[in-house]
């Protein structure tokens, strides 16, 4: 309850402060916060039934922060998901099969902290995908046998500069459909690759805070 009260107060306070800014010449837009449920990021390949690796393929599921939704646009995307791989629309290809063309100037890093605790962007940490790998490779923990779960590593917040120089932050909450607290054997086998995440988008150009 206390948290909710506090958040309400905070929201009112933020609301008021943004209202007071309305007197300025430029229009300041509010930071948009949302939860995305069950973004499906399928892949083909990975491993055959004997456990032998085979190349991963299939289209990435692309996401656009400004609309807060997935997109099939070739250009209007910031971040994209396929299996456990997350790529950004900036930098150069790592060389994986079926990677979309990067035509934006996105960059990213993974901050250590809580979602609320990441209040601004440390722009010196921003990096782009490269031939050495993806910037956002290290977001999950693989539990190994017997459960073989992919769990988002606690305290990892993804900070993104979008393709067009805005900023966003994102915390992955689950890799399984409907973000269950107890992940059953069936869910682990059948309901993987469904991302649920919280994100906040700062729509004001060049603004590096999330408050």
């Amino acid at each position: 309850m206390k948290t909710i009260k506090f958040l309400t107060l905070l929201a009112i306070f933020i609301g008021f402060s943004s209202c007071s800014n309305d007197d300025d010449d430029s229009v300041i837009l509010e930071v948009e916060s949302e939860t995305v449920l069950n973004l499906f990021a399928p892949q083909e390949g990975g491993m055959d039934q004997m456990g032998n690796p085979i190349p991963v393929s299939g289209a990435f599921t692309k996401f656009d922060f400004s609309s807060g939704a997935t997109t099939t646009s070739e250009t209007e995307w910031d971040i994209a998901f396929r299996g456990t791989s997350i790529i950004i629309n900036g930098g150069v290809s790592y060389g994986a099969t079926d990677e979309p063309e990067r035509n934006g100037n996105a960059a990213a890093y993974i901050a250590n902290g809580t979602f609320a605790g990441v209040v601004s962007v440390n722009t010196s940490n921003l990096e782009q995908d490269s031939v050495n790998g993806y910037v956002l490779a290290d977001w999950y923990t693989y539990t190994g046998p017997p459960n073989h779960l992919i769990l988002p590593t606690a305290g990892k917040v993804i900070v993104v500069r979008t393709r067009d120089g805005k900023y966003a932050k994102l915390e992955i909450l689950s890799y399984y459909k409907d973000a269950p607290e107890e992940i059953s054997a069936e869910a682990a086998a059948n309901d993987a690759r469904y991302y649920t995440f919280d994100f906040a988008y700062q729509p004001n150009d060049g603004e590096t805070t999330f408050e």
Binding site: G113, A154, G155, E171, L173
Partner: protein
Amino acid sequence: MKKKKHLKLSIFLVLIGLTFSHGQIKLKDTIIEQKLDEVIITATRTYRQLSSLPLPAQIVSQTELKQANRIRLNNILNEQTGLITVQNFIGGEGIQMQGLDSEYTLVLIDGVPLVGRSAGTLDISRVALGNIKQIEIVKGASSSLYGSEALGGVINIITENPTKKGFKGELNYNYGTFNTHDTNLNLDFKKEKYSIGAFVNRNSSDGYNLINAVDVNTIDPYTNYTFNTKLNYDPNQNTNLYVSGRYFTQDQDYVPTEEEAGRIKVNEWNAHAKLHHTYSDKWSSYFEFYATRYKAEDYLNTVADNSFLSASDYNEILIRPEIRATYNPNETTSFIGGIGLDYETLERTDFNIDPIFNSPYIYLQYDVDPTDKLNLILGARFDKHSEYESQFSPKAAFRYELNDKLALKGSVGYGFKAPDFRQLYFDFSGFAGYTILGYNTVTTRIPEMIANGEIESENDIVVPLSVFEGSLRPENSVGFNIGFSYNPVSEVKVELNVFRNDIQDLIDTQLIANKNNGSGVYSYYNVNRAFTQGLEVNTSWKPTSELKISGGYQLLFAKDKAAQDLFNNGEAFASVPGSPSFQLDENDYFGLFNRSRHMANIKVYYSFDKLNLSTNLRGTYRSKYGLFDTNSNTYLDKYDDFVEAYSIWNWAVNKTFYKNFEVGFGIDNIFDFTDIPESEFDVVFIGNIPGRIIYTKLNIQF
């Protein structure tokens, strides 16, 4: 609820004991303590009275083993203060001492080591207790005498030698729950100048299944045999020749899943010869030769059509010649020194070579009583090694008698554990596409993997190859022990010991390069620092010759230092799947996995001498502990799932008829405690507590 009941009952039982003995104690004043003090050899490699020792040590006597009807080493060690057997994920049971894993406790039989740590753990359930004289437990780093592995301490199993002239035999049979049969036969013959002893044990069980949901056993059915013969020859008063041979063989089903089935076979032999000669009051020497082999083989076939799936083998040999001498220039001073060589080889599936270790060593120990009240021990050992950094291991200890009742003791020592073969030479590619490389193989294998395209380029190397150009350092520790022993009256003994082990260069597996197939290459290197600290209290009270009550307690803090820093700096987080992360603070770090903060035991032994009947109740308690990280931060914090605290109560009764026949009955785990998995995918459960075990015993001496 169930647990509370146990506690109440146990308190009740203890109270009965206490009240009862209060009545007796007044009568007892005139009885003179006649029991000779126990003698221990492990602590100093010389015969010492346990009570005069400056080191924390315990003895488990044959009487205790027999009265408690224990048949395997793991059963009895679990009942000792501060010791717990911990299950390895492939089934073996290793011992945890002072919060250190089983890799760091040296296990000896008659002073020479057992080998066969295929995944680090030495499975102590393979040691039969039917011919054991006593078990000696020395805590604290002891590498100054024993070299590698004696980082947390030493457990030495002393087997019985024939003591009486003539022929003597003993047959012991034990039958219990899970169709467990255990048969011992001891045959001894002794004459003036020689003695010969033979021991045979057969042990078998149907195993048990905690995971009722699936058709796979927690412990698969097994049968094993132990054979041991010993020869002592004393051509004259000053010379003793000792030869011993031991053979252990076990055959066990291996059914990891419903689709796969196979067998695991273990064959182990130990050959030990020792010539002891006393030259004068001052000098004596030992020439010792020891060889042992531990071999394990397993295979798996499919259940469907019995086609071959996989097989692996492990074959380790240790050969150790050693010469040592003792010198006692006067009654208050003694020296012992030795020089020897360890030669070890291993053939193993997934090794790219058959490695050979050569390690000559030398040690010296000085044991002196500068005054009547003070005893000092100074010792050191140097181990030279062909594959890793040579080690110098010093140790110092003191014991000071403040008065007849109270003595202080303390020690500080260095301990190390040599990297094992696996950490140096492994070359293993798993089903899921990952590769594990031993430290010494990295600098050749990684360039090969780049050349053949398994690794894309040098950019995929995460840990620079230069890290692997030196030698892997042994894991090492400095151990401190300080405490007192207090005997207010002869029937009461209180011992307290505070300990700390500061461990560094712990070897961990880390990602060192990314593979093309999306998986990784992992290797071993020195990264972690940790500590274990706590205190141990042991008390015993023997109000009458018929009653003995003892209790023990260990408080333990075992932590990884890097993890502790993270928590202290607010850089540790946790999350429940599906919910946002939250920050953890320094109070949230619980410590290393599989460590309980509190462990305690109580034992009440009572013998009705007139009835030739003895009975005992033994309880052990273990506070909650974690097995795995369950909230995605790799650390054990207070929001993780824990194994709940539990207590286990064992009861035994034995009665002797016509002097030579003994019948026993007992219940282990009276209240049928188990912690079974809630589902097939529940990993936080206790695999080595099968529930209530009811057994009977028959013992015949002839």
